[in-house]
Symmetry: C2
Subunit: 283 residues, 2 copies
């Protein structure tokens, strides 16, 4: 059997890693930015970055919220959740939504946006009982389960006995197969990530029930948040309002010091974080 | 491992089989239809049918073409090819198309419509060298291969060295995985059937490379022709013109006698036919 490469890592060995960052301008030769300004940019994994002003977006502190909110709910993860749920999966009011990696930065927002937009049911899966309690207790998910505690398709059938219309996939593998089995006619899947494949030492088997897609008219669509930048203002307006009014909540897992970033990254991939994993360089 | 039911057969045991049919009205109580009229309807697998006039569509003989054309290129297979390629897979001029089951009633039309609409490359797979010769020789496919003669992904890589934009899937299984591996960014798959699963004695493994869908923004969409009935007039206009002008060609495999219909059906599933499999009840 040939080698199946099921994903490409989002970096090249030998080149600096990219990553979302929030920083304060130290020096500027651009008329639009002055020393002291707060900006969001893509040059993470470093303490200082030199970049073109066009690559930075000026941001304002929001009273009561940490600046890191621009890396999470109001940043790329927020846009991923927003565009993935509403545009890629075309979620509509009254539909049932299932999201995996639900306690993560993206997943927790997918569920909350769905709830605020009138989902008939919001179901999430996560990798610990603590996360499951967070989903149903704090985030208002209708049901959640710990995928390590039993077959996903069985737990999903209990959590969403009438099936689902939308699946937001952060993990692939067994979750994707279970979701395909639970999708109702004209159901949609937003394929956002395949953590199960990233962590796997052998190729993860594909969903054996993809044949259901024909009779049930299912759509599976992969996406990358970068294609949806035009939705950033809509997302910031809607999610920002939810944050201010307390209808959207979030958590962060904060690790101090750039030297701890690699460990934090690995912890994120194995699910040690609740909400966005943040590396803090300065208090 | 649980039982994975990857498809539902399009019939219920104990109920009469449905199937596309062309017939002549013997007796009518509807003002719109008279004895002697030719009609197309869905009550196949029988010599006589009693049906409501609303379930029959009056048709006219086309000079030079057999009436069975309404069961193939100008019937449900024609609509399946047309709507699947243009609406479900959103094919656009200049794109490269791959279709499996390419010598069948649907597949042969997918390739020809793509060619007439300016595909950059049309590639098909089939199950015999004779069919492959028919595709490149008579139907104008740019390349074709016999999937029984080697791994599909290797043969596809040779037939479409620059990759594909659209895959029209009639078979699932190994073909689908190979196509996912060959799809270019923003590529689309129209999932039309899974003959590999119908014939299988064990569940067919799912595509192990579905993770590519994220980074390459791929879309896989299942469909059923019945959802696309509104495109019938467009299809008949375009394919009908192609037939009259000799730019679209087709073949049929004709079996005589209702008593031979079950064998013809099984032969179709194992690929004995070229073009639409027709059971002729009267000369």
């Amino acid at each position: 059997m040939r080698d199946v490469k099921s994903y490409s890592p989002p970096f090249e060995v030998g080149k600096p890693l990219q990553g979302g960052a929030v920083g304060r301008v130290v020096e500027s030769r651009s008329p639009g930015l002055a020393a002291g300004d707060l900006v969001q940019h893509g040059y993470g994994w470093r303490e200082h970055a030199v970049l073109d002003a066009s690559e930075a977006r000026k941001i304002e502190e929001i009273p009561g919220l940490p600046l890191s909110v621009y890396l999470g709910v109001l940043g790329m993860p927020g846009l991923t959740a927003y565009a993935g749920l509403l545009d890629v999966a075309a979620f509509k009011e009254g539909e049932a939504v299932f999201v995996s990696g639900a306690a993560g930065a993206v997943g927790s927002l997918v569920g909350q946006i769905a709830r605020l937009r009138g989902a008939s049911r919001v179901v999430g899966s996560a990798g610990s009982d603590e996360k499951v309690a967070y989903l149903t207790g704090k985030l208002g998910f209708d049901a959640a389960f710990n995928y390590k505690k039993g077959p996903v398709h069985e737990q999903l059938a209990k959590a969403a006995p009438d099936g689902i219309d939308v699946y937001f996939d952060n993990v692939g593998g067994e979750h994707l197969e279970a979701a395909i089995g639970a999708l109702r006619r004209y159901g949609r899947v937003a394929l956002c990530g395949s953590i199960s494949a990233y962590n796997a030492t052998a190729p993860v088997p594909g969903p054996r029930n993809l044949g259901r897609a024909v009779g049930e008219r299912l759509t599976l669509r992969g996406f990358i948040v970068g294609d949806h930048a035009e939705r950033m203002p809509d997302m910031i307006a809607e999610v920002g309002a939810g944050l201010r009014e307390g209808r959207i909540t979030f958590e962060e897992t904060v690790v101090d010091g750039l030297e701890n970033a690699p460990a934090a990254f690995i912890d994120m991939l194995r699910g040690a974080n609740v909400g966005k994993m943040i590396v803090r360089l300065a208090p």
